[in-house]
């Protein structure tokens, strides 16, 4: 694959001169195209920021809406009631509740599985499980939504009667299953990047495998693990299909995972599927919600990126 074909150098000097200018022009054209590709990605970000920004500003400019109420309000009823309230907190609360349930399950399970994979499992087992994890990470989210609806929710309701038919716990557990392969795979990568010398030193001092794994390897890989966790949280916060199938459509402030909640993403789907056709405040509110969501995931990725950059500096 790596054999390089070298352009023939047998042409006459004149031809060579000509081909040199041709080459230079071609080089510039290609450079221009490549820069165009780079600009496209910047343009995408700009488009997201401009669209969300403009519509959000428009939203706050409406009479019924105030920015302070939006970021402090605890009532979200854009569609019903005598008076419309646009307080973002019930949606954030719903999002957090689902994410919390998911992370309480996925993070410890994923991390322990990752430690087992990198420190305990035989290489053969690892060689099988790694690609399987990759495949699992590619399962469409609508499949997990279906799973939540047809398996998790009935099981939860069978275990305990207090669970609503749409509830945060069911959606959260499905999101946990979705995030597990990501957490495991990325944490395992981080754990394996810890230099052997560190582990061997610890073993040489008579440490058990548990002590090496938990007291040496995990702390050394901590930044990579945290980056993996943040990525999983960002995925959970932005997850749409599972929550819109299983979590419900009632925006409320609650910490009870048995209750029906509405997440930010579920609200956006509700609005764009036609629940608000007239271009009133409820329609523009979905842009404000999208902007909030965008800022949250942006913060998570930036922090994760910072941590990863630091991590690279330590071990290379």
């Amino acid at each position: 694959m790596s054999s390089a074909t070298i352009p023939s150098q047998t042409s006459l000097p004149v031809g060579r001169l000509k081909s040199k200018t041709v080459r230079r022009v071609r080089e510039w054209c290609i450079m221009g195209l490549l820069i165009g590709c780079g600009v496209f990605s910047i343009a995408t970000t700009l488009a997201i920021i401009i669209i969300l920004g403009l519509e959000t500003i428009h939203f706050f400019g409406l009479d019924e809406v105030s920015f302070v109420d939006f970021i402090t309000g605890t009532q979200w009823n854009p569609l019903l009631g005598a008076e419309k309230h646009f307080g973002i907190w019930p949606l954030i609360c719903g999002t957090f509740l689902v994410t919390a349930v998911a992370m309480v399950v996925a993070l410890p399970l994923g991390l322990i599985t990752a430690i087992w994979l990198s420190e305990y499992a035989r290489p053969g087992v690892r060689a099988v499980i790694k690609p399987v994890l990759e495949v699992l990470a590619g399962i469409p989210t609508v499949v997990f939504g279906f799973f939540a609806l047809t398996v998790i929710t009935p099981s939860l309701r069978w275990l305990h009667e207090g669970f609503n038919v749409y509830n945060a716990a069911s959606a959260g557990l499905a999101v946990a299953v979705m995030c597990l392969p990501i957490v495991t795979s990325l944490s395992e990568d981080a754990l394996r990047a810890v230099p052997r010398s560190l582990k061997e030193g610890a073993y040489g001092l008579g440490a058990t495998r548990f002590e090496v794994s938990v007291k040496v390897v995990t702390p050394a890989a901590l930044s990579g693990i945290i980056a993996a966790f943040l990525l999983a949280i960002a995925r959970a916060v932005g997850e749409t299909m599972i929550v819109s199938l299983a979590a419900g459509n009632a925006a409320k402030m609650t910490a009870d995972p048995r209750e029906e909640v509405q997440t930010m993403t579920a609200y956006m789907v509700q609005i764009f599927l036609g629940d608000a056709s007239n271009f009133g405040p409820e329609y523009y509110s979905s842009y404000a919600v999208a902007a909030t969501l965008f800022l949250m995931t942006l913060a998570l990725t930036v922090i994760g990126h910072r941590i990863r950059v630091k991590f690279r500096q330590v071990y290379e």
Partner: protein, 317 residues
């Protein structure tokens, strides 16, 4: 002295017990993960196997569960993914080449370069539903620059031609595919960058030493060596595109469609949307149809993933 010895061996014992205990926890965690997956796959297979027949693969959606098929959604998925691949792959590889092979030395340019890189990391973290809104505004409505709804502002060809084009695009195949392109572009860029980074520098230096220009070096040396890695990444990105539902839901909505798209502006539905629709219905029988649809979808994805694995195994040194 014996006292100390005893406490030491006691401590030793405790440490060993801890170690054993941790192994049990590990195995328990792994068992939970594996059994969850078995339940997931098992429940889908159990619900979906009896509907998995020719009717499902070749039929159109129906109000009667046993007559329902996924054919239009399957073709719709293929079309939007084709549009997505044709637009995302060159753009993605181009950006990756720019970022990996043409690193500028000038400090201002280098800073710009770093900014593009950070920007792509951020784009990879944007929730796909946000891309749906972007696609709706930028492709479907074109910022309402050309009027809203009704007759298009400009057209090329008629609905008889496959290349029929109208501005704004409307809720058609092209808008759907381009929106998917936005979703998978960062993934393709990042994986292509990794593939390019894995090419040893000696190859680059060799090419340059023989008098190749930078582009000749990339085209003839770096890129061919990186193709397997790029292909693997691209295939995985495309499998993401096949299963992606949220942005398509925003673009196309839930629509009853019995035909396959004939041109780029035609209405479409995709497999994940059809599954979402069936899964959301209250009748048990439709859940079974949804499960069958999931089996078809997963079979396609597994084929893609298997291809990626095979390519990687074949070219891995």
């Amino acid at each position: 002295m014996t006292d100390i010895h005893e406490t030491q061996s006691g401590r030793r014992l405790r440490r060993v017990i801890k170690d054993r205990f941790f192994i049990i926890i590990c195995l328990f965690a792994a068992a939970v993960c594996i059994s969850t997956l078995c339940i997931l796959l098992g429940s889908i297979l159990a619900q979906g196997m009896d509907h998995l027949d020719k009717q499902l693969l070749t039929g159109v959606p129906s109000r009667k569960p046993d007559k329902a098929g996924i054919y239009p959604a399957m073709i719709g998925t293929i079309y939007i993914c084709l549009v997505c691949a044709i637009s995302a792959v060159p753009l993605g590889i181009g950006t990756a080449i720019l970022l990996e092979e043409f690193k500028p030395k000038h400090p201002i340019l280098a800073r710009l370069h770093g900014f593009v890189q950070l920007n792509i990391t951020n784009l990879a973290g944007v929730p796909s539903v946000v891309y749906g809104i972007l696609g709706l505004t930028a492709f479907v409505e074109m910022f309402k620059l050309f009027g809203a709804g009704g007759d298009p502002w400009w057209t090329l060809g008629t609905t008889e031609n496959w290349y029929y084009l109208r501005i704004p695009f409307g809720r058609g195949v092209l808008a759907g595919g381009l929106t998917l392109m936005l979703v998978v572009l960062p993934i393709i860029i990042i994986s292509s960058q990794e593939a390019l980074r894995a090419v040893p520098n000696s190859l680059r230096n060799g090419a340059l030493a023989l008098g190749a220009t930078k582009w000749q070096m990339v085209w003839n040396t770096t890129l061919p060596s990186a193709v397997p890695g790029i292909m693997t990444g691209t295939i995985l990105a495309m499998s993401r595109a096949i299963g992606e539902a949220a942005p398509i839901l925003i673009i196309a909505g839930i629509v009853y469609i019995t035909f396959t798209p004939e041109h780029l502006m035609d209405d479409f539905t995709a497999m994940p949307l059809q599954i979402y629709d069936w899964a959301g219905r209250p009748q048990e029988a439709f859940h079974h149809v949804a499960a069958s649809g999931i089996i078809v979808l997963m079979a396609i994805l597994l084929t893609f993933n298997a291809a990626a694995v095979v390519i990687r195994q074949k070219f891995q040194r």
